[in-house]
Amino acid sequence: METLIVILVGILISIGTYLILSRQLLRIVLGSSIISHAVNLLIITSGGLKTGSPPLLGEKVASFTDAIPQALILTAIVINFAVTALVLVLCYRSYQNFGTDDMEQLRGNEHE
């Protein structure tokens, strides 16, 4: 199961990277979203999969799944949401201001 998920993660990261390297702003945002999904899966995999019951106390079970990756991912999901929202609005704003979403046309290297 872990190997399967890791391969899935690899594929997702490849696709995300490809999208990030493209020229359109929207595709870059899509790419970063895919990468964040992949990373979340990677973190949960690193703790070992299906090793016990959900990390809820009070139920008479022998072992729990690792709770730390879950806590990390919970944070990551929320931060990802914030980042995605900000970047999306940034894209919107830069398109409004510059009239293009092509990264090659948006590039700038102005010296002081």
């Binding site: 190997t3 998920i5 993660v9 990277t17 949960i44 809820l56 900000l86 999306l88 609005v89 590039r107």
Partner: protein
């Protein structure tokens, strides 16, 4: 103890008051009058220490600062630091009185000026009273920074800005060298304290780092004290207001290098490298400065080069005096102790006469509007008092009696004569160079002093060349140079009072191992007709001859090609470096986000792959894998399909919907992986994100794919596959290794520790509550950013908004 620290830090504390004093009271009272209180009170406080220090006592105070790193502000007062403390506050008081009349209270930004000046004063006091090497270094750099600010005080002038930058670049470069030297010293002596290092000399002498530390520390001292070839910043620093030049760039800051060399003499003195570098560079600087001063037409530039030259003189005396450490107590040692004494004596004298001369130049500049000797002349008639002060200062610098410069110059001649037959360190071969260079440089010194005095004040008075009507300076402006001039004469007649109370304690601090009696270092004006006196007479005779014929040869010197000056090399080097680094940076900083991402991804792949391969980290272990059910395989395949749809979709809606499909399937995996909280959160967030995407996409252009060419796509493909492969390999290897036991078992006591039954929740809100709080602030910041971006006023298209 606390009083001591209050006095030392008084300049910093008082600086906080200056803006208010300037704002509310400057109209009635010049801000300088309030600031004067600071150096004056510290001066009086320090004067009270003189009798105790003169009788051999030292004072030590410790203020704990960063105890965990062993950094305390250990203050230490001995004769040397007291001498500098008195100079800093004494000259400081006079300079502030002078500045009150020099700096217009209407036109100038006085609050800036006095804050910088106080900052400098505090830094300088901290420097000389600090025993902790790193604290000393901090104050050292602070003096460079405040000097930078003061040179650039008239920042609207180009020359000021350039001069300030030059001074900062050179002195801070030296400062870094010094820091490196200090660190080596700390490593060798295993302590931060200068005195403990001196007490533990056996561990340092013969250590492999001894010479590197020596060189690095000397770099700092030489750049600060404008020694050859680093002295080029000092003439450019003359762009500063004259009170600053007279305070920082002649009396105090440039002597910090001297202070450092004197402080380090017990550690490094006695080694041949130290002797040759300090004495040799000092002599070269003496000659270079005096020779270059002759060419100058700007009075301040002339004084700047003369300062360089005089600093070289003091430096070479310290170098010669360091032989006392080599010889140790005894007759020969005592001879060189006298050289060190001469260094301290001349240091004091130089502060008096050079300070007054700078103030004279400030007066001339202020009253005539000119500093160029080609326009000046005959000022003797209109400014008799200024002329008298210039005469006293100038003759003292030339080494004539009855002024203090004569005494220290004689002692300098005695020292170079003594060293020429010291017979060690190869001196028996080229030792004769010492008196010769010293003598020649003294002739040049004499000539430029005469030029300074008589080209300005002598000759015919030609008011038509000056821009304003000239009259004597106001009394307030004359007070400080008069006091300094009086000191010049008084020291000549009563040198041993100064010697006994201030100079001998300083000498004891520089050469702690030497028994010093007042008899050995008695200063007297008349020794009979000895070599030194004959040398002085020679200087005067040849100097007068040269001065009389100056018109013929000085023009030749002024024609010295600009292309061969040190300044030229500095400018070429600086602009060359700027150009080269700009072209190098332009080559990779293309402004394209994609290129930067390519750099990042390539480094990611290269670093991780090479370390995985080199360290044999690839180790794949399938044995611990959990079982796979058909249902999960289906999910994986669906996810891959969804991801590829996002990649290949040419329709925005399709891409966004596929992305949310992907997200929901991730939340299903969370369910399978026994993570109910994650599944719920992911579900909610995914829904909101999709809504956000749909809201935004309406405003974004359609997807196009035609713009991307084949090589472009190929690069992307190679990099993305490589990244994916690296991550896969890394994750598989990570699963294959179990280096540590998991720490989760700690959190499984969540109910006892935090009263929570949901472990994930307990981690977030209790164990790592702070992280969660910061996470919420990140959300808040992002929310604010979104709000501002949405509500920002839309400007017309084509108008650049972000600049």
């Amino acid at each position: 103890m606390i009083t001591f620290y209050i006095f030392i830090f008084l300049p910093f504390l008082f600086a906080f008051l200056v803006p208010f004093l300037y704002k509310y009271l400057n109209r009635q009272v010049h801000t300088g009058w309030f600031v004067l209180f600071v150096p004056l009170s510290i001066f009086i406080y320090l004067v009270e220490y003189i009798p105790a220090v003169a009788s051999g006592a030292t004072f030590e105070y410790t203020l704990s600062w960063i105890p965990s790193f062993g950094i305390d502000i250990t203050s230490y007062m001995d004769g040397l630091s007291l001498l500098f403390g008195l100079l800093i506050t004494g000259v400081g008081s006079l300079v502030i009185i002078y500045s009150i009349y020099y700096m217009s209270k209407v036109r100038e930004a006085l609050h800036n000026f006095y804050i910088y000046l106080l900052m400098f004063m505090g830094a300088m006091l901290g420097l000389v009273f600090s025993d902790h090497l790193l604290v000393l270094y901090g104050f050292w750099e602070l003096t460079s920074v405040s000097s930078f600010l003061l040179i650039a005080y008239w920042y609207e002038r180009k020359g000021s800005r350039q001069g300030a930058l030059k001074a900062l670049l050179i002195t801070v470069l030296g400062g870094f060298g010094m820091l490196a030297g200090f660190i080596m010293l700390i490593m060798m002596g295993d302590t931060f304290s200068i005195r403990e290092i001196i007490a533990n000399m056996d561990a340092i002498q013969g250590h492999a780092l001894f010479i590197p530390a020596l060189l690095c520390i000397l770099l700092g001292a030489f750049t600060k004290s404008a020694q050859f070839p680093f002295g080029i910043w000092l003439p450019d620093a003359m762009e500063a207001p004259t009170p600053v030049s007279s305070y920082l760039h002649s009396a105090t800051m440039v002597k910090a290098g001297i202070y450092l060399v004197a402080r380090m003499t017990p550690i490094f003195g006695g080694s041949a490298v130290w002797f040759w570098l300090v004495a040799g560079i000092g002599l070269v600087t003496l000659l270079y400065g005096s020779l270059t001063a002759l060419r100058q037409t700007d009075l301040k530039a002339l004084l700047a080069y003369s300062t360089i030259s005089q600093l070289g003189l003091i430096m070479s005396l310290l170098g010669i005096g360091s032989l006392a450490v080599y010889f140790g107590p005894g007759e020969t040692g005592t001879v060189f102790t006298v050289a060190t004494f001469a260094a301290v004596f001349h240091l004091f004298n130089h502060s008096t006469f050079k300070g007054s001369l700078f103030m004279v130049v400030g007066i001339i500049d202020h009253e005539t509007g000119r500093r160029d000797i080609r326009y000046l002349g005959g000022l003797m008639q209109v400014m008799p008092i200024t002329f008298t002060i210039a005469l006293i200062g100038g003759f003292s610098m030339a080494g004539l009696p009855p002024f203090n410069g004569f005494l220290s110059k004689e002692m300098f001649f005695a020292a170079v004569n003594d060293v020429s037959h010291a017979g060690i360190f190869g001196l028996n071969k080229i030792g004769m160079l010492f008196p010769i260079i010293a003598w020649v440089a003294s002739i040049f010194t004499f000539v430029y002093c005469m030029i300074f005095i008589f080209k300005t004040f002598g000759g015919a008075y030609r008011p038509e060349r000056l821009t304003r009507e000239v009259h004597e300076a106001p009394l307030g402006m004359l007070i400080s140079p008069i006091i300094l001039g009086l000191l010049v004469i008084l020291i000549f007649f009563f040198p041993n009072v100064l010697g006994e109370y201030i100079l001998i304690p300083a000498l004891t601090a520089i050469l702690p191992g030497m028994p010093i009696s007042g008899h050995d270092v008695k200063i007297s004006a008349w020794h009979g007709l000895n070599t030194e006196l004959i040398m002085t007479i020679g200087v005067v005779v040849i100097g007068l001859l040269l001065f009389r014929t100056a018109r013929r040869w000085i023009q030749v010197m002024r024609n010295y090609p600009q292309g061969l000056t040190l300044n030229h090399f500095y400018n070429q080097g600086l602009s060359g470096m700027e150009k080269r680094s700009a072209s190098l940076t332009d080559r990779y900083m293309t402004g394209s986000l994609r290129h930067y991402l390519i750099y990042i991804f390539s480094f990611f792949v290269l670093l991780l792959m090479s370390s995985l391969l080199l360290l044999h980290g690839i180790q794949i272990d399938f044995s611990n894998n959990a079982a796979i059910s058909i249902y999960e395989v289906g999910l994986v395949i669906a996810m891959i399909i969804a991801a590829f749809t996002v990649l290949l979709a040419s329709n925005r809606i399709l891409a966004i919907v596929s992305l949310s499909v992907l997200g929901y399937m991730v939340s299903m995996f969370f369910v399978i992986f026994r993570a109910p909280d994650l599944a719920l959160t992911q579900m909610v967030v995914e829904t909101v994100t999709t809504v956000l995407f749909l809201l935004c996409f309406y405003h974004l252009p359609k997807m196009t794919k035609k713009i991307e060419r084949i090589p472009f796509k190929l690069t992307n493909l190679v990099i993305s596959v490589a990244v994916g492969l690296t991550v896969t390999l890394l994750a598989l290897s990570a699963n294959g290794h179990k280096l540590f036991e998991p720490i989760t078992s700690f959190f499984e006591n969540a109910y006892e520790l935090a009263g929570a039954k949901n472990i994930v929740n307990a981690i977030l809100v209790d164990f790592r509550g702070f992280d969660t709080m910061l996470e919420i602030s990140v959300l808040t910041i992002a929310g604010l950013g979104v709000y501002i971006l949405v509500h920002q006023r839309v400007k017309r298209r084509g108008q650049r908004e972000i600049k």
